[in-house]
């Protein structure tokens, strides 16, 4: 390093005070403000639900049958709704996620610019904007009117909501896979199916799982599509997801929270907290699974 001689002036490397610096500071402050504004309602929601719901939650609350609406908080629980939510959302996921991923693979890897692929992509995007209650009505008219209420009908309605989300998010993830990877695989004599299964999907798996999870989380909290398909109002467990009315946490929250009885309201808060915790557990589980799948992608 060259020594700085006495009469030589040192270079001034500080940012000169200027409008540019001011703009930079304003933008940074605005971003912090926006972050805080976003965090406040989120924090409040979480805080309120935890504060009001935590006291009622115990194992018996999570597993007991649903009591009469006028019953005090220490009687009964939300067992049938927990089971119903898990069954119906699980069934919807099993139906939708593979279908959505396959659809997205078709759109991105096989369809290209052909009219069918374009049409599917377009209508899938349109479906994203359809209100969830319309999905419920749709399944009500084509399924429930013929076969009656069932968890399966609820799963169909939730599936209609989830499908476009899974397709769109998977499609975007597949598009991000560099073509160089596909070419590398083709150059070794791989068929298109092989390239897709062994290179494209593993490279995109993290994003695909995240997208699918977003869809599941959305479905977990949906009430409207279930009103017309599983009926709700059940007090005992209906383990058969394929026939008969069923119930789910969002429906239970809806019916309990609108009642004047303190016991019902407490059960509503407890159910809300249970729903949030379910989504949280799902989130963590999928992160663990994804981390295992994509451990070589960095």
């Amino acid at each position: 390093m060259a020594a700085v001689t006495g009469d030589e002036q040192k270079a001034d490397l500080r940012e000169p005070p200027s409008w540019r610096r001011t703009k930079n500071r304003i933008a940074t402050a605005l971003m912090v403000l926006a972050f805080v504004l976003v965090i406040i309602p989120l924090g409040f929601v979480l805080f309120t639900v935890v504060a009001k719901g935590i006291s009622i939650i115990n194992w018996s609350f999570l597993t007991s049958p649903i009591p009469s609406i006028v019953a005090p908080a220490n009687e009964g629980g939300i067992g049938p709704a927990v089971v119903g939510t898990l069954e119906i959302t699980g069934l919807a996921t099993v139906i939708t996620v593979p279908l959505g991923i396959l659809g997205a693979i078709y759109l991105n890897e096989y369809g290209g610019k052909n009219p069918l692929a374009r049409a599917i992509g377009f209508f899938s995007d349109v479906m994203t904007g359809v209100p969830s209650i319309v999905m419920g009505l749709f399944i009500f008219s084509i399924w429930v009117l013929h076969f009656g209420f069932s968890g399966l009908a609820g799963a169909f309605a939730l599936g209609c909501l989830m499908l476009p989300i899974v397709i769109r998010s998977t499609y975007e993830m597949l598009r991000l896979v560099p073509n160089a990877l596909r070419e590398g695989s083709y150059a070794l004599g791989a068929t298109k199916a092989r390239v897709t299964v062994t290179v494209v999907l593993p490279a995109a798996i993290g994003g695909i799982v995240s997208g699918a999870l977003l869809a599941v989380a959305r479905a977990l909290g949906e009430t409207a599509p279930l009103l017309f398909t599983i009926l709700g109002g059940l007090t005992t467990l209906n383990a058969n997801v394929f026939s008969g009315a069923n119930t789910a946490l969002p429906l239970l929250i809806f019916t309990n929270a609108t009642q004047p009885y303190p016991g019902a309201q407490d059960r509503g808060w407890g159910a809300a907290l249970t729903l949030i915790v379910l989504a949280f557990i799902l989130m963590i589980a999928s992160r663990l699974v994804t981390a295992r799948f994509s451990r070589y992608s960095r």
């Binding site: 290209g112 610019k113 560099p178 160089a180 990877l181 596909r182 070419e183 590398g184 695989s185 083709y186 150059a187 070794l188 004599g189 791989a190 068929t191 092989r194 062994t198 290179v199 593993p202 490279a203 994509s294 451990r295 070589y296 992608s297 960095r298």
Partner: protein, 294 residues
Amino acid sequence: MEQPEQDFAAKTELPAPAALQTRRSDAPVADTPGATIFDTRDVAIFYGSFQAVTDVSLSIYENEITAFIGSSGSGKTTVLRAFNRMNDLVPGARVEGEMYYRGASLYGKDVSPIAVRRRIGMVFQKPNPFPKSIYDNVAYGPRINGERNKHKLNEIVERSLRQAALWDEVKNRLNTSGLSLSGGQAQRLCIARTIAVEPDVVLMDEPASALDPIATTAIEDLMQELKTQFTIVIVTHNMQQATRVSDRTAFFSVLVNPESDTRTGVLVEYGRTEQIFQDPQDSRTQAYVTGRMG
């Protein structure tokens, strides 16, 4: 498309590689090429209605390194990718004229591009290791070709990595990601991956253009080793590289159509590397190799 299986043991008994022969211009070089690997006649390649290359007629010989040189847009890479039908992946790409690989038409009716690429591998300009472990990267090709035997896969992986001069650097971390390697290592991994399926030909599209001089030297040395077993075709922008590694050189140039303002690549001259660089027959070749153009 049925071809007899390659006998690599027999191939290695060929006379000393041409690279060991002297390269001085005053020493006449005996031109005794091996078997013809590729034979192209009046090949023209189109992307939709755009003609990318025209008039490519050349023969590429066994266990030689053939270099394609020329300025950008002269169609070197396009022609290279036509040899293993990688251009099939580009929508609208079309090849006219005749292209033969060991006597079989590459674009014949019943030819499977999969079978073609199984024999004619490719190394790309930018190293493109898969987001898998180093081991799985090399084992990928054998696996998709049905090799399941763990013991055999281990053997193939070690042999390929040794051939690609990467074994010593990665033998203790075969389970780490292929993406964790440096650029030069990643490119050697890609070479190992390519030769793991024991192809007949290795096409290289500017394999060292993204690498530093040391890594480039490593790749060039590697090519000299590999050509005893494989036939190599390399596209390069670097003329010194062409003179250092290749036995034959094809010079491509650009034809500009002033009416439609389109640029079409054309094969100008093809011959032994010494001849192309020291005694070019075409004025365009001379201008290019002496650095006055391109």
